[in-house]
């Protein structure tokens, strides 16, 4: 059966061998042929020598979540051969380097083996050892271009773009492609029954990773200070910020930077610097992952209690502890939502595309200053480190930075009395001053100890309670500032609902369609922020049962909903994946079906899944 624009190709490489750029080129070529594609890096926490995989899903229907089952495997890592061959679906293909003969034990009758002497071809054509290794990667891309019908001019275009500044390298790269192409044309039938056909389904979309989008978003939001401590998978957020800041934020006349980036000694210091800078009126942020968030919690409590804008990008990875540093999860939901001891609640945003990473990073700066509190962007490794097809970045030209309630010298001059924590507007949000504003007015003592409306230390129970309750009032105000959830139906009228957020969205939307084909109809809601807006509560109230899809063991998001909205736990059903790879539509369907089949028949409703 021929499958056009609907298959999964997996590359099995050794890390540190330069395969990444060849693999990226493969995905990009499909993207440039107008076909939806989603590549994912599966890599170890190691620098050289261990297996890595790069998995590319091609889906004309635009399903961009991960899918189990490999249609074609490019196996150029001898270490993982056994495992790799086993992952190929029946009827699928195994493309390998047959410079050395494949041992009989690896043979499988139900798949096709395509051997190309990649190393041998490179040995014949290149003398330099590093070149032989690098061009071997291009040889398999060339081979694939024939087998899968990738347009050669598209590949050449990508090479030309990549080597704009090193044009000498264009010809040898193209030559390596040709080596692979010629060989496969001579010895195999082509194209395969899985293959590509040009479409026009991409429009003006871009292919980019979420961390780049966050870094760029911070530049656009006017961040001038970044402090951070390296940790996978968040490192490339600050790397991107630095790259764009160096391009876009250097004063032309003096050559001096309109930004400061400090690689701190640890995450405690990183968040401390961010708090200090925001306290002092600059826009500052940090990015980290689980272990870093754990270290930052004491400071997050200070920022919450002393009401200091703080922007944190949490690129989640597999926990607990050091966990799976290079695998994805959404498992910091509760620890971040309630980060720090005492009664604390933190504002969270949940992007699911690079465009949303860009927009929400910028929004996080506004919200943090408007609400005078930490705002955490909850992304994850899948979103942060993999390329995703996304709406292009854009900036509303009329948009100005929302700096919140900050008093100027003039304001202070004209006001009767200033109290840092006086709830003047009755919305729980007070007026703050920036150090250095006025010679005699507006100074106060910022502290994490309990304080009264004038920031004076107090252990008076009444004053303490007033503050605690005012913070809660602010929390309620915050709801009205949060982005509203997205609904995927005009009107919710099913008895079953489904809730998801962040990167789970990709597989969730596919699963909803698959289930619908099987006769299971679900109303869907994607939540974008915590605190939950009223519409979140309404949606859940409107449905008899609501599935909550998320990527952690303990159904943390479900707990958050139950806890914050006082929902009967029985009403919210868990749909989970926590093995470190992105959740798949199949896994979602299966769990939902299980729930439905095991659900006791209720009054008039009986959920039965009809297999199509």
């Amino acid at each position: 059966m021929t499958k056009i624009n609907d298959f999964v190709v997996r590359f099995a490489n050794v890390n540190g061998t330069g395969s990444a750029s060849a693999n990226n080129m493969f995905a990009k070529a499909i993207f440039r042929m107008g076909i939806p594609v989603s590549p994912k890096n599966i890599f170890p926490s190691n620098i050289q020598g261990l297996p890595t995989w790069y998995e590319v899903r091609v889906s004309e229907k635009g399903y961009l979540g991960r899918r189990e089952g490999v249609d074609l495997l490019v196996g150029v890592n001898p270490q993982s051969l056994t495992q790799d061959i086993a992952t190929v679906k029946t009827g699928g293909y195994f493309l390998y380097d047959n410079s050395k003969k494949l041992h009989k034990e690896f043979s499988r009758d139900d798949i096709h083996f395509i051997g190309v002497p990649m190393i041998e071809l490179c040995m014949q054509h290149y003398s330099d050892a590093r070149q032989r290794q690098l061009f071997k990667n291009m040889v398999y891309v060339g081979t694939l271009s024939v087998l899968l019908d990738i347009e050669m001019q598209v590949l050449v275009g990508i090479i030309e773009d990549e080597f704009q500044n090193k044009t000498k390298l264009i010809a040898p790269n193209v030559q390596a492609l040709e080596l692979g192409r010629n060989y496969v044309k001579e010895y195999y039938q082509y194209p395969l029954d899985i293959r590509l056909e040009r479409r026009d389904l991409i429009g003006n979309k871009i292919l980019v990773d979420g961390n780049t989008a966050c870094g760029l978003g911070a530049v656009y939001a006017g961040a001038t200070v970044a402090a951070w401590y390296p940790i996978t998978p968040s490192t490339s957020v600050v790397n991107a910020f630095e790259k764009y800041a160096k391009k876009l934020r250097v004063d032309k006349e003096s050559g001096q930077n309109k930004f400061a980036i400090v690689q701190a000694e640890d995450e405690l210091a990183a968040i401390g610097m961010v708090i200090g800078a925001n306290w002092n009126g600059a826009r500052a942020f940090t990015a980290t992952s689980g272990p870093g968030v754990s270290l930052m919690t004491e400071f997050l409590g200070l920022a919450y209690y002393a009401e200091i804008p703080t922007i944190l990008i949490n690129v989640q990875r597999g926990g607990p502890s050091t966990g799976m540093p290079t695998r994805t999860q959404q498992a910091d939901i509760l620890s971040t939502a309630y980060a720090s001891h005492g009664d604390t609640k933190q504002v969270l945003l949940f992007p699911s595309t690079p465009k949303e990473c860009f927009d929400m990073t910028a929004q996080a700066f506004d919200l943090a200053e408007q609400l005078q509190t930490p705002v955490v962007l909850m992304t994850d490794l899948d979103l942060g480190m993999n390329d995703h097809i996304s709406e292009p970045f854009s900036w509303d030209e009329s948009q100005i930075y929302q700096r919140g309630k900050v008093l100027t010298a003039n304001d202070l001059e004209n006001m009767a009395k200033f109290g840092r924590y006086l709830d003047v507007d009755d919305d729980g949000i007070c007026y703050r001053t920036i150090p250095g504003t006025h010679p005699t007015k507006g100074s106060y003592f910022t502290r994490g100890t309990s304080h009264d409306e004038f920031a004076r230390y107090t252990e008076d129970g009444g004053a303490y309670t007033r503050k605690a309750e005012r913070l809660l009032k602010k929390w309620h105000t915050a709801k009205t500032y949060m982005p509203k959830p997205l609904f995927y139906q005009e009107k919710s009228n099913q008895s079953l609902g489904v809730v998801f957020f962040g990167t789970t969205t990709y597989a969730a939307l596919e699963a909803i369609e698959l289930l619908e084909n099987q006769g299971v109809k679900l109303d869907a809601m994607r939540i974008l922020a915590f605190p939950f807006t009223d519409s979140v509560e309404e949606f859940i109230a409107q449905h008899e049962q609501v599935f909550v899809i998320e990527q952690n063991r303990d159904a943390q998001f479900r707990t958050l909903l139950i806890n914050e909205l006082e929902i009967n736990p029985k009403k919210l059903l868990k749909v989970l994946n926590y093995d470190g790879s992105p959740i798949t539509a199949d896994a979602i369907c299966q769990q939902i079906e299980n729930h439905l089949n095991h659900a006791k028949p209720q009054s008039n409703h009986q959920y039965v899944v009809h297999k199509a």
Binding site: A260, A284, L302, W395
Partner: protein, 350 residues
């Protein structure tokens, strides 16, 4: 409890160059124990700022947690203050300074706050040469948690409870020197004549200015056998120099005999006039200072004074090559990039 001091301006109170009087540099009434060394240091800080005619709002006070870290509430009430979390004042100071390089950053910490929980941040703020004053009010114990030994307690020093400290002491002055701090001094809360000019010099120094001030805890560490008591310090103190701070506009008037004095020109044009009490002390020779500190440690001498100064160092802003204009004053006008740039960036992802 916190008290606000009644403001009473005596008509004859001397004014500084800005027309402020001394009480404009004071803060809330201290709630520390009567006789606590920390209070003397607070008052020295207020006096130094008064004499230097610092605009109170151009200075930010920062601290960690401890009795010592409470003191910023007790001086300069017209300055913004930030009492952060235990041991993390340096990171707050770093962020604040990056946001606005034009203010004076005055950090206050304790020996527990700096030499134990905050050791990491102390080390790194020193090596980054952040332009700030960093004072440790050093009492060899944790005052606020009722007197446990701190890491600066000397080996063999006896606590109030009668136990001897067995562990090696952390000498913050040697550490600061080792870490590349560009201004290193030690003083004693009981010696304001020495401390006030040192604080002024530290404020003028355009880099990391560290002052370790021995500051007895009268409640938990002023007993016989402790090496951080008023008596012990007075007996063992040795002056390397006396320092006169001479503001930019003034001339050096006091003359000292050749070889006994040294004038160090600071970046802002002011001078430090050092009268050397230890004749061969050269506060610009890091290695010599380092060696002498170690020798003194062996003989039980407490060396005080301006121990080391590097007038040529580059502070963090210079190292990061940031613009002169404070980053917190950049607004949309300076930072706006527009959609055209974004469109070019988009094109790179197609």
């Amino acid at each position: 409890m916190s008290y606000i001091k009644p403001k009473f301006h005596h008509p004859q109170s001397p004014q500084n160059d800005l027309g402020y009087i001394k009480s404009d540099y004071e803060g809330a009434i201290s709630t520390l124990c009567a006789g606590c060394g920390h209070d003397s240091i607070s008052s020295a800080i207020a006096q130094a700022c008064f004499e230097m005619a610092i605009e109170p709002h151009k200075l930010a006070k920062l601290s960690g947690i401890g009795c010592s870290s409470k003191t910023p509430a007790y001086f300069l009430s017209n300055s913004h203050g930030f009492n952060s979390v235990h041991g993390r004042m340096p990171s707050i100071a770093t962020g604040a300074n990056l946001a606005n390089r034009d203010l004076i950053y005055f950090g206050v910490s304790g020996d527990g706050d700096t030499a134990s929980i905050g050791m990491g941040q102390f080390v790194h703020v020193a090596r980054r040469n952040l332009n700030m004053v960093y004072i440790v009010m050093n009492n060899g114990c944790y005052g606020l948690t009722k007197g446990q030994d701190s890491a600066t307690a000397d080996v063999g020093s006896v606590s109030k409870a009668g136990s001897k400290n067995m562990f090696q002491t952390v000498d913050l002055v040697s550490m600061a020197l080792e870490l590349g701090a560009s201004f290193v001094a030690r003083s004693f809360s009981g010696d304001k004549a020495q401390l006030i000019p040192l604080i002024k010099a530290a404020i003028s120094h355009p880099g990391f200015a560290f002052i370790d001030v021995i500051s007895p805890c009268v409640t938990f560490n002023n007993n016989v056998g402790s090496t951080k008591t008023y008596d012990y310090v007075r007996e063992h103190v040795k002056y390397t120099s006396t320092v006169d701070f001479v503001p930019e506009a003034e001339e050096i008037t006091v003359e000292y005999a050749e070889g006994e004095s040294k004038a160090v020109k600071l970046h802002d044009g002011s001078y430090l006039q050092l009268q050397k009490l230890a004749p061969d002390w050269n506060p610009q020779d890091r290695f010599a200072v380092y060696e002498k500190l170690h020798r003194a440690k062996q003989t039980g001498e407490i060396l005080t004074g301006l121990l080391y100064i590097d007038t040529e160092s580059q502070d963090l802003h210079q190292l990061l090559n940031t613009i002169k204009q404070p980053l917190n004053t950049l607004n949309e006008k300076d930072l706006y990039l527009g959609n055209e740039v974004l469109e070019r960036i988009n094109a790179g992802f197609r």
